[in-house]
Amino acid sequence: MPTKNAQNVLKASEAAYSKLPKVSSELLTLTYGVFIQQIFKTTYRIEDVNAKLLEIGQNMGLRIVDDFLSHIVFERCSSFTETCQILVGSGFMYFFGVSGTILSWNEENSQCVFLLKHNLLNNFVEIPAHLEGLKYNNMLCGVIKGALNAINFKVKVEEVESTVYGANDDVFSISLEELLHDETGE
């Protein structure tokens, strides 16, 4: 299923990831969790926390896409499906060390569902009762949204299942809303 281009990029990103300096995963997990708690303490409303996480992710995504493209050179993607394959497979591999796998596409090829195993941000995390409804992975959703936005795809990214609520793996969905066109100044 993945195109030749996507497979080459995956190999390149694995090679690039192995050269990057590493940090302890528990440090990242605990920092992320405490970070979310701090945001919660500013407003005490779950919807605000979810929105804030998405916004933070979007800011990250804008910059990340340039970083990724500067380190890994590959051919232009021919379709939205190929873009998603490269993002899910190699993008996550380069920044996260784990590669996502696309589970399915819908009929018009505008929505895909992908799986992320071994998501380190969720290690040992369980949502307590007072934080019910918190979208723990919303920052990752924001990163994907921001990255695709920067290359002119307007998308909606959501978490479908999450290990923090007891599922086995994290599952996300990306839906293409529209293609943006480069705007020239007036």
Binding site: E26, L30, G33, I36, F124, P128
Partner: protein, 145 residues
């Protein structure tokens, strides 16, 4: 009537974090057991100074009831109150109970450390997680029945 067990976790500020009886208790009995467990916190603090081991064996005895303690490095205490029926010949002997309790508490300690690694759990607050409760019940079924 078989042996009765009540398991408690007390934080380092003497705040009760978790309490789980492993057999159905009547209302009056619940108060007596809680009283004995709280009284044993002082004995635990003394016993802690005398030994290097995390498991503090039997720290106090009240007739047929024994209290076992285990201390985590951060000061968290696991207290198991055990009441035996001496006329019951099928009940396990005291040394067997002690061995079981040692293994049980070591595994509970692993569970507790995993709970602490959850960044959304605030230490020294009551433990309300359902999965923790289920795992404690599983361990109790494994060692105490």
């Amino acid at each position: 009537m078989g042996t009765k067990y009540v398991f408690n976790i007390v934080g380092k500020d003497d705040f009760l974090l978790f309490s789980r009886p492993f057999v159905a208790l009547q209302d009056e009995e619940l108060h007596v057991d809680q009283f004995i467990i709280h009284a044993s916190i002082d004995s635990i603090k003394e016993a802690m100074m005398c030994t290097d081991d995390l498991f503090l064996k039997c720290i106090s005895v009240f007739g047929n009831s024994h209290v076992f303690g285990f201390v985590g490095v951060s000061g968290v205490m696991y207290i198991l109150y055990c009441e035996r029926n001496p006329n019951d010949s099928s009940a396990p002997s005291l040394s067997k109970i002690e061995d079981n309790t040692r293994s049980f508490m070591t595994e509970i300690h692993q569970l507790y450390v995993k709970l602490l690694l959850n960044p959304l759990y605030i230490p020294n607050t009551p433990i309300l997680s359902l999965s923790f409760l289920q795992k404690v019940d599983q361990l109790a079924a494994k060692y105490f029945s």
